[in-house]
Structures are given as structure tokens and as C-alpha cells.
Amino acid sequence: MLAKVWSLGLYGIEGFIVSVEVDVSGGLPNVFIVGLPEAEVKESRERVVAAIKNSGFDFPLKRVTINLGPAEVKKTGTHFDLPIAIGLLAATGQIDKSAEAKLKNTAFVGELGLDGSIRNIRGLLPMLMALKQNKIKNAVVPNSNGKEAGILQMSSFKASSIREVVDFLENKVELSQCEYEEENADLVSPSVDFLEVRGQKLAKRALEIAAAGAHNVLLIGPPGTGKSMLAKRFTTILDNMSFDETLEVTKIYSVCGKLKENTLIKKRPFRDPHHTASAIALTGGGSNPKPGEVSLSHNGVLFLDELPEFPKSNLEVLRQPLENFEITVSRAKNTVCFPAKFTLIAAMNPCPCGYLSHPDRDCTCTPVQVRRYRSKISGPLLDRIDLSIELSPVKYEEWQSTSPDGESSQKIRERIAVARKIQRERFAGSTTTANAFMTSKEFRTYCKLPEGGGEIMETAMKKFGLSARSLDKILKVARTIADIENCPDIKREHLMEVIQYRSIDRGMVYE
């Protein structure tokens, strides 16, 4: 007997339809799974046998062949347990003929426990998205994944055991639909706020600009100046994601099994990998490529603390995502592209000992050591950083002042929302979402030098030693400042301000 049921597979962060064919024929009792199954799919044989028996069905003592098509694509994940079990039951006639219609237009995903219960799986969201453009209209998903499936608002049913699924197919019971639960969760975690940062007006201003235009920032300062503190509060001033953006982020987290609440991620992600993270951890990879830190921070923030401590080769891999906003992971058998459109916030000390620009403590580094330390960050990477500022330690007077002198994250976010709105209107109809992502054509259209701006740029280049490339960056950031101030055109002051935020280009003066 032959039976065919539908399931879904995952390739990178895209889903695809998989047909599960089960053939039961005479011969020595054995179970074969073909169609490039990975280890976890091969193991499903043992789970399925036990789950079927423990659910009160019979497992045939025959030769069973299971084919997962298309046979040339690798199958990974534990979610093939349920479709295999259902296929087996259908092939051995343990599911009523009346179920045939439902079998034809339903896809099954779920991991089985030995007792026949259906368990949580990862990557459900992208898999279901593949269904959206297909004739198969229904899906049966694990009960615990219900919220995730509900996001797409399609016909998906949640089940908790094989028995329930079989009863549903035979029209004996109704399974409940997965509903979209609109949650008005507080988007900003109340634990941190910009209000708590004392002093550091310059850094706050730079981060506000960065948030408004999605510009990359480098914070340079001695230990204890609040670099990490500022970076952690950066997400609290970012505007909310659009629905499409949340979907993209949720998809990536779903594939990585990092969807804690199994629901839509609305807060922009903040990732801070440690500097011992490998290049693969950053880019994503593995024989079945999974997204890395750059993709997990898609539409959010990638914070690299102690930037020069990262191995140089690991930093260089950031160049492609910073330029193309995606990362291509190529392996012998497949090539996958993950989205990676993030704002980079990097932090570093001014020198190896950390105290080069400290007002009270002496630096013990030689100029060569400092140069070597700074050269760990290559020119091409620095070229992709729009704002770099030097921080200095907070003074006692600032620290002890109980009255917070700054603005709350809420207030800054309102300003940023305005700037973002201007940008959305400007780039309507383009894939560009913020000033930092402008194409060169858009750049030429929207970033015009103001009257007298040429002289400023000339001074910047000749006197301060800025490169032609950084002049473009200056114009882009100046565009953002103009947006914050709701100016239609870039003004001279905007240019002059940005030039003060390019400390890394100005090199170091040793004497």
C-alpha cells in the first residue's frame, strides 16, 4: 500500500513543500528512510515506531520505505516525525478512507514523543510561509507552536497527539485553529532608559543620529566610560518595526529555535556576541547553514564590545553584510543567503592599556603599541563606520547629581520616529529604509552640498585628512541630522557637526 502526505522542509530561512511517501510491502520487517535525511530525520524511525504503538495503533511487521521528496534536497529537523507517522497509518489502512480529502490538502509538521504526543519544533514560521503560495491550504502544527502559526492568519490547526490528528482527519473531532494574538506588550523593556546615563551628551547625540538614520557607530573610550551602558540603551530609542520587518526577524529566530514565547518578535533585536565568537558564529554556517549573529541582529543592533579583541579575520567577514545587508554562506553542498541588515555599534579602548585619553591616569602604551592596536581594525571596516566618537570618564559632579540631566528614551524616540517617517516618505517605492542604506543614485539625489559646503569639505579633506569615502559618509549623516531637525536641505552646520564625529579618520597625533 502506498500513501502520500504533505510536510514542509527548511532551507536556510526559506521553507519548501516536502512530500512524504510511505510504501508498505512484503519482505523482511524493516524501515528505510530515503531522500537525503540527516541524522535527526533518520532517528525519527525509532520515535515513530514507539509513538504509533503507544498511541494504540499497530506498527506493520513489513518492509516500509519512506521517501522524502524532492529527494535531492537535504532534510533536516525533527518535524518529519508527524507526517511519517500519519503516512504510515494511512498506508496500513489505519486511517479511514473518508480522511483522503483532508490528507490531500493538509501539511503536517511536528516532533513526536514516544507516547505519541506532539512536541514543539523550530522554524515553523518560514515553513508555513511556503504554504501561503501553494494549493495546500491547511496545516497541522504542534499545540505549543500555535501562537507562532497564528501570526500568518492562515488555516492551521494545533494538535497535541497523534490520536487527536487521526480523529481530526476522520472528522471525529474538530481541532482548534491557531489564532493571531495581538499583544500589546511593552515594547521597551522598562529596565533600562537613556535617562540613567549621566553626562555623555556627545555620545547621546551621536547615538540619536545613528538611530535616526541607521548609521554604524564606533565608541572609543577608557574602561568605565559607559560604552556598553550606552549601547544597551540604544534599542530603547529605535522606532518600532513594521509588520514585514517583524516577520523577517521572527522567521530568523524561529529557524534558530530562539523564539521563546513562540510569538512575533516586535522589539528590535540586540545582539552582543563575545569577542571569542568564531567567524561562523558571526556569519552563520554549518553543513546545514543556520543564521549567525549578523542575521540574528537583522533589523536591529549588533554590538561588538572590545572590537580590537575580535580576531581580525572574524571582523573582516562583517564587510559583506555591512555593504550588501545580507550574508551568503556557501558550503560544498549548498549556498544560502541570510538577511543581515543591522546597525553596528562597536566599542573599543583608545589603546591596549585603556587609559590613553584618560584625564587622570597615565597610559603605559608606546605609540607603536597604540598603532598596532588600532590597526587591528582594517581600513575597509572603518570605512563602513559612519560615526566615531571619543568618550571620557564621567566626572564625580556628573555622577553624584541626582537630578537626571538627560532626556528619557521615550522623548528621544519620538524625535527619531519623525526623522524615520521623513525617510520612509523619501524612499517610498524603494527598498531603502533609512539614510544609511541609500543607493548611490539616491545619494546623489538627496544629499546635495549646501552653499559653502564645498569649502567645509575641502578643509575636512586637506586639513583633517579625511578620505573621499568619508566625505560621502559625512553627507549621509548630515542628511540624517537635517531630517531630525526637519530641514528639507542639508545645512553647513550639519556638515560641521558631523566632521566632529569622525575622530577615527583624523588619525592620532603622537608627540
Binding site: 551628551k201 556627545l202 608606546t366 541630522i481 557637526e497 566632521i499
Partner: protein, 378 residues
């Protein structure tokens, strides 16, 4: 005395120097005793041991190492690098060096030693304070204006600052190295070294071409710095520092030592302050240095002009052409070194406003910015 030495004599001296450049008093005496460097190398172990007051083993080592050293190859290396090797009989060998006790028997030189102008040594610590950097810059710049050659050691800190200030005016400065000409120490001064030569200055050393920096090189080098100069100015340095060794050697050579006073609680000013207590002349401007230089070397800039320059550097004249906002920022910084945050707090201005004003001030060379801190340009 000024008869040129033969080729073989020169090669012999290069050989002897390569072995004993750290004891030129010793080999100078040896050459005197034997009449020439050639004879020294022809002598027996016993002769050297007796006349040089060294053990037989040392004498053996001396003879075997000098015979192994390829002086001709050394000459080629130096000339390939654009340098030359001088003996005391050479025309270019600086006269003032011949008068010091134990002058170097040969001198490696890159660049030009002519014309002979009056020279002033400027030395100081490798880890100067902001005050030291500023003073060294101002003094050597004014000395360069007076066509006085500034001699220093191209070390980090005050030495490099002194050289750079002269180079900025495209004037002549001499650097006496603690390494061979084939090495650059500290490595970051490679560019400085070539600029010194490009502007008509010279790199001078008695150390063989490829030797790197060794601790004992530097006191030897300091005696040459003092020896080349008419007087020595100590800008900053702790009590135990190379700068004070140079000062001591200048005194031993019978030369004037001047010192820049500093705050009594500043560790980097301990050295010059103690020199002043012991009777060294005090330097408060380049004029104080110029007054000590004899009339025959009369500086080409009149003292009146120098005085005027001093006045021009005051805040009042700089502040004259500034706008109100610029003046506020300029006065806010004063003699300090502040970052943008501090300025914006002090003036209670927004960051964008301060940034724009700082840009103007920096573009007009009134302020400089270093690692995010702004200070008045020297």
C-alpha cells in the same frame, strides 16, 4: 692635523670602532700609542694587552673580531644607504666634537653637516607632559627662526617634538642616534628621519650600521649631542633620565646648561628644577637661549622680533578676529585640554552648536584636536 687618512687607516678605524665603539676613550688611546689604527691591528695579543690594560682573552677577542669584521662591506652599506663615514681628519667632521674628551674615532653621517651654524641641544624625557611638549615646540621653533640648528636624539617625547617643530619650518635639525644608520628607533620615527634629511639636516651616530638600540648606546650618544652643541637645554625629565646625563656631560665638556623650570610637584620637571637649583641658567623663552650665544654667531632674527612673536602668541591677539561664539569656546578652553562634552557642559550649549564652532576654530588653526580633546594650537 688635518691631513686626510689613508684608505687602509680608515678601514682599520671602522674595524676597531665596530668592536669598541662603546669605549672610544680606550681605542683612542690605543691608536695614539701605536701611532695608527693600522698598527693596532698588526700588533700582537701581548702588545694590546699590555698597552690597552686589558686581559689576554679580551685582546684575543679584539684581534679576532676586528679581523673578521668586513669594513669595506660596511662602507658599501653606508654609501648605498646614502650616508658616509667620517674620520676626525675629514673636513666635514664637526670641529666642536674634536674638543670633547674621547671624541668618536669615526662618525656615521647621513645628510649634510655643512654649513657650520651654531647648534643648541634640546633634550628631555620620553614621556613628556603637555607642558613639556608645548615648551619644546615653542623653543625649537624660535631657535629655528634664528637659524640655530637644534640637536637632539630623535627619541620619543621631547626629542621628537623638538625635531618636528623645526621640520615644520623646513629648517635644519641634527639627530644623534642611539642605533646604527641602518636601523630606525623608535620605529615610528622613520618618516621624521627622512624629513630631517630632506630639510638639510643630518643623522649622526658612531654606532655600526646595523646595530639596533642597546641600553649602553644612549649615554654614549648623549656625549655626542652635548659635544656637537654650544649649549644644552633641558626641557623636562626626572632626576634619573637621559636628559640629565646629557646635561652632566655638557658640564663635563665645559659647556653651558640651561633648564626650563616647571611646577615643583611635577615629576617630569624634577630634573630641570634641580639643575636650576644647582646653578643652571633658566629658560623662559627662546630669548634666554639666544642671550647665551656669543656675538660671532649672532642670530639672524633680531631679539626685538622674537619679543614681538612672544606677544603675538598671547590669547588677546588670537582672540581678536573671532566671532562671539568662537570667543566663548576659545576662552572656555583656555589653557586646558577639554573634550566636546566638557565644553558643552561648561557653556551649557547643545552638542551641535559646540561642534559647529569647534569646526570653525579648528579649520582656522586656532585649536587642535587629539583623541577627541581640544586644546589651543601651539
Amino acid at each position: 692635523m688635518n691631513k686626510a687618512v689613508t684608505e687602509n687607516e680608515k678601514l682599520a678605524r671602522i674595524k676597531i670602532n665596530a668592536f669598541s665603539y662603546m669605549r672610544s676613550d680606550w681605542c683612542g688611546r690605543l691608536i695614539n700609542v701605536f701611532g695608527s689604527a693600522e698598527n693596532v691591528l698588526k700588533a700582537t695579543t701581548q702588545d694590546i694587552s699590555q698597552n690597552g690594560a686589558v686581559s689576554i682573552e679580551t685582546a684575543e677577542k679584539f684581534l679576532s673580531e676586528t679581523s673578521k669584521f668586513d669594513a669595506r662591506a660596511e662602507l658599501d652599506k653606508v654609501s648605498n644607504a646614502g650616508g658616509s663615514i667620517l674620520t676626525a681628519e675629514d673636513e666635514n667632521y664637526p670641529e666642536s666634537l674634536k674638543d670633547i674628551p674621547h671624541p668618536p674615532i669615526i662618525l656615521y653621517v647621513k645628510g649634510t653637516l655643512k654649513p657650520e651654524r651654531v647648534r643648541v641641544a634640546m633634550v628631555g624625557t620620553r614621556r613628556p607632559s603637555r607642558y613639556g611638549i608645548k615648551t619644546a615646540t615653542l623653543l625649537s621653533r624660535d631657535l629655528a627662526l634664528c637659524k640655530i640648528t637644534v640637536v637632539s636624539g630623535m627619541a620619543r617625547g621631547i626629542d621628537s617634538v623638538a625635531h618636528k617643530a623645526v621640520i615644520d619650518l623646513k629648517e635644519i635639525t641634527w639627530a644623534v642616534l642611539g642605533t646604527g644608520l641602518g636601523k630606525c628607533y623608535p620605529a615610528e620615527n622613520k618618516k621624521l628621519a627622512s624629513e630631517i634629511i630632506d630639510n638639510g639636516g643630518a643623522l649622526i651616530t658612531e654606532i655600526p650600521f646595523e646595530r639596533g638600540p642597546m641600553a649602553f648606546h644612549f649615554p654614549r650618544r648623549n656625549r655626542i649631542i652635548a659635544g656637537l652643541s654650544y649649549l644644552t637645554v633641558v626641557v623636562e625629565g626626572p632626576i634619573k633620565s637621559g636628559a640629565l646625563i646629557t646635561a652632566k656631560q655638557a658640564l663635563e665638556q665645559g659647556k653651558e646648561v640651561l633648564a626650563v623650570p616647571g611646577p615643583i610637584d611635577s615629576p617630569t620637571s624634577e630634573g630641570p628644577n634641580s639643575l636650576i637649583r644647582d646653578g643652571a641658567g633658566i629658560v623662559t623663552s627662546a630669548l634666554d637661549i639666544v642671550y647665551h650665544i656669543p656675538l660671532q654667531y649672532k642670530p639672524q632674527v633680531s631679539t626685538q622680533e622674537l619679543e614681538n612673536r612672544d606677544k603675538q602668541n598671547t590669547d588677546v591677539s588670537v582672540g581678536k578676529n573671532l566671532s562671539e561664539d568662537e570667543k566663548a569656546v576659545f576662552n572656555c578652553i583656555g589653557q586646558q585640554c577639554l573634550n566636546l562634552d566638557e565644553i558643552s557642559c561648561k557653556l551649557d550649549w547643545s552638542v551641535p552648536k559646540v561642534s559647529a564652532v569647534l569646526f570653525e576654530l579648528e579649520a582656522n588653526s586656532i585649536l587642535t584636536c587629539n583623541t577627541g580633546k581640544y586644546e589651543k594650537k601651539i
